[in-house]
Symmetry: C2
Subunit: 332 residues, 2 copies
């Protein structure tokens, strides 16, 4: 049976919200911040972006792995990445906390400090929220943003487009497997890979720059994994793709720890890099220089009926959907 | 340890989201609905209202008490009530579902059907959402609205204002205590009180009408309980209040089941009626006629240092904060 209503929102918790919210950053876009039934925000002259994401203890994180500050920052970052994936500018967020027993108010102050600091860094107003009891610590953030130039969608990839990815992939998946004790790693490689899980970066500036390119690139952030997220673009755009396995960018620490294993890079997820498809008239050098970070061309968009295929180093194409195991990727 | 990333979002769940979202209602304000990293919505010419609220199984509800349809509708209604409490018009929402084991996709289809139907009834677009695994079924909704005329805030009550409340209070609290077996009730009174918990109404039209009155009433919705929510107005407006106990409106079923007990009416919560404070130049008749529902004048705003007091039928004033028990309310 549910507990008594009154105990779902103890006065102590309200005081906690008030204390937490008092220190939250908000600027002139915010007419009324925390403390009323709703926040009031200024009208938006541009198209608005709206997204929600949730981090659940025991599902997405573990308090042995993340400090409260890192958790607060990371909960915002995964939402920021959704705005980045539309080429947008993040503006305003609300936070819903599910609080379990056994966590102190000092813990939540640190969580909010991490969140507030991450918000300040990208000029996002935290305009309020809600606290409820819960069996698992849960941080759910709803984020509003604006379209800067044009929205970058998943449904605009065309046959003949090149497929690009920012940075390197698979690091975050390796990082949490290292923390879980499933993969062994030492020294700086260990620190780098864990850091990629604990404190990912949302590619906001890169998404905004890509939104200036015409025709608009099809774009998605890599949260579920390279193949899964490319799959979302293929499905929405009704096209197929061929990926060059050898071109998929892996970091030096990745290679040191995982060697030739491609599964973390292809299916790892939570890298929050950008995957995008553009007309084939751009060089790696020009796009890297334009974005100010390393990018790699990893394949091309083909007709839908050809599905999603991976080209091995021996030139053979194998179907991603029919793949029975990662051994197949190694070549003859 | 967290489960593997991949299992936090199974393909089956993605298919479920897609199926659920395909049927969700959205109109011309929505440029891009579910299926991308963010929804895209049209610019807002007016001030915007932004709120988030969460319903957690075992804290706010129990599946023995609510059908999946009622749960979906109620999760939206508690958010709509926050918009009503600002005098606003609800526009666009996102849904974050925490899904536990043991619930079928048919369950979620029914939940979304209830949500979609409640959204359609108030012209709200459900533009997307997120699904994650969780130990408890959790429905979190972020809702955007607009200020219709002027925003009704908690911080504008002035000494001398009359305090008003729409409808009757305490019914919902009695309703869930009946379902919990803590209070006995039969027949139509039982059905009415349970219905007030299961399917509350957000007072949207009434909030919008009140927002046309100048100067703007101070307003809040009764979600935490009459005394607690009035307390929020007093705190934000830096004033005190005197309530006439006998004037606090209780329904006929309330009186039949709870008799002279005032605790459900004063502290019950989840009625989603509106509590508002206005200059003392309005009659009960004129305000009831203007809003099209019964309203009651239950007290007045006084200086801050006089705190929150309740006037018993014998004329004695007792302090709400110092109240040791409900017996005190009965009078000499």
């Amino acid at each position: 049976l549910p507990d008594h209503r009154k105990s779902s929102k103890q006065p102590g918790e309200f005081e906690l919200i008030a204390r937490l919210c008092a220190d939250l950053p908000y600027g002139s876009r915010t007419v009324l911040g925390p403390g009323d039934d709703c926040a009031i925000i200024a009208p938006s002259r541009r198209l608005q972006l709206f997204t929600i994401d949730s981090m659940v203890e025991g599902v997405h994180f573990n308090l042995d792995w993340l400090s409260p500050q890192a958790l607060g920052a990371r909960a915002l970052t995964v939402n920021l990445s959704d705005i980045a994936a539309m080429g947008g500018v993040p503006r305003t967020c609300l936070v819903n906390l599910g609080i379990r027993q056994g966590l102190s108010s000092a813990f939540f102050l640190r969580l909010y400090r991490g969140l507030a600091s991450a918000a300040r860094a990208v000029n996002v107003d935290v305009v309020g929220g809600n606290i409820t009891r819960s069996a698992q610590l849960t941080v759910t953030i709803a984020l509003l943003g604006e379209v800067a130039h044009q929205a970058l969608r998943r449904d605009t990839a065309r046959v003949g487009d090149d497929i690009w990815v920012t940075g390197t992939v698979g690091d975050s998946a390796l990082g949490w497997r290292i923390m879980a004790g499933e993969v062994k790693a030492e020294g700086s490689a260990r620190r780098y890979l864990i850091g990629r899980f604990v404190a990912p970066t949302a590619r906001l500036a890169e998404g905004q720059k890509l939104s200036r390119i015409r025709p608009a690139p099809a774009l998605i952030d890599i949260s579920d994994g390279l193949l899964a997220d490319l799959g979302h673009i293929l499905e929405r755009s009704r096209v197929g793709a061929e990926l060059d396995l050898g071109a998929i960018p892996r970091s030096r620490p990745y290679l040191a720890v995982a060697g030739e294993r491609m599964d973390f890079a292809l299916s790892g997820g939570e890298d929050y890099e950008l995957l995008f498809c553009m007309r084939p008239n751009h060089s790696v050098q020009s796009i890297s220089r334009y974005l100010g970070i390393a990018v790699h061309r990893i394949g091309r968009i083909v007709e839908r009926q050809r599905g999603l295929k991976l080209r091995r180093s021996d030139g053979r194409l194998i179907s991603a959907s029919g793949m029975r195991g990662w051994d197949q990727l190694k070549g003859a």
